[in-house]
Symmetry: C2
Subunit: 240 residues, 2 copies
């Protein structure tokens, strides 16, 4: 399992992922699920992945191969694509193709291998956009009414987001909200684990404005988690 | 879907269920999921159900038939059983048998029909007990370390319970906690719906101490829900 969340706010994009990958409960590893593509001043793209690791790794490898290909065009390379919509389309097609190839082999074993992705960013001249790409390659987009998208174990961390996040939420509030949303998920689902990767992209910055890896022993995160527990208990005590 | 929760506390049992049953999103109905069996001073039993309605209704109907059978024994009637453990065993066997019968018919259609139950109560001379019965008929029991059990859509309402509930929580705090846990679930899952049924059984009362049906327009519940939303937002604003 995994928990990744992306938010599209007036002030910018906030993205957070965990790093735990597991094959059974007795085989866990740390794998990055956040990938950044940047040409400062021109374009910035962040991808988050959830699901079968062989599918997501192969999809990312092929997207990178397409970028490096000397014959790359705006239809094959996400770093040449004209718009974020084209980036989502290229990524969705690649994810769909890799899923279909892998699935053909998995079918023989009666197993399933699917993955989903969050793709966010901004192309110079365009607006910031945030997409959730399904295993079939089709996608949905965040809007002002629904400014955040989640993949993986989304349920535990959703109530806090629903209560505090709107498109007008400032970036520092949003940073706090995604971390608390992750904190609730970490407490309840063993297959979501530290460290975390967080990226913030300010509107029209066209680069990653802030990137942080939050390790298991991060004192700031631990303090926020403890303060939130206490604040929740206080809030609970205070209502009639 | 459904959300039911039961808590086993030093002061007593707290049980809460929703009433929504759905066959698809376009076919929803209100069905009671809380069932009470009481011989005041002798025994009190409350059951909560989740899952396929035909399975839970048939299971309850047969348990009632066994109670009314003039040849009922302590091995067949939950109202004659010697202990809450025996009540859980009789209920588990009945649930397993009904599930197997229904499943045989469903298999032909490549469909599944399962259900799970919470069974709680006290038999004179015994202690209060709380069980979660799986579709296969086996069961687990609440303990001092894990004083609450959930069936149905358990994820949205779990974080609040994990943070505030211990075996020593007083009944009025526990009542507040289950209602807030339900409130979070109602907000996030359309297949969980009002009205709610709540029962409280004080330790050694051997009867239902308090029963309440909470309708969709209940002012007290609406006020608590609004106060909790505000308290959460305040708590969020207050932490660094």
């Amino acid at each position: 399992m995994t928990y990744c969340v992306g938010m599209l706010l007036k002030e910018g994009l906030v993205l957070l992922s965990d790093t735990r990958t597991n094959a059974g409960l007795d085989n866990i590893s740390v794998y990055r699920k956040m990938f950044t593509f940047e040409e400062p001043g021109e374009r910035v793209i962040v991808m988050l992945t959830a699901g079968n690791l062989s599918v997501t790794q192969t999809t990312l490898a092929r997207l990178n191969e397409a970028i490096d290909d000397p014959e790359a065009t705006l239809d094959t390379s996400i770093m040449q694509a004209d718009s974020m919509l084209d980036v989502a389309t290229i990524t969705g097609e690649m994810l769909s193709r890799v899923t279909a190839e892998t699935q053909a082999r998995m079918d023989r074993m009666n197993q399933a291998a699917t993955a989903s992705m969050i793709v966010a960013g901004q192309r110079k001249g365009g607006r910031m956009r945030l997409f959730l790409i399904y295993p079939e390659g089709n996608f949905i987009e965040a809007t002002e009414d629904t400014p955040y998208l989640q993949i993986g174990e989304h349920k535990y961390g959703k109530p806090i987001l629903d209560r505090v996040i709107t498109a007008n939420t400032p970036l520092d509030e949003a940073r706090k909200a995604v971390l608390l949303s992750m904190d609730s998920t970490l407490r309840s689902n063993l297959s979501v684990g530290m460290p975390l990767d967080m990226a913030i992209i300010e509107t029209n910055a066209l680069r990653v404005s802030e990137y942080r890896r939050i390790e298991a022993n991060d004192e700031e995160f631990a303090a926020m988690s403890a303060a939130w527990s206490q604040a929740l208990r206080d809030a609970f005590a205070q209502i009639a």
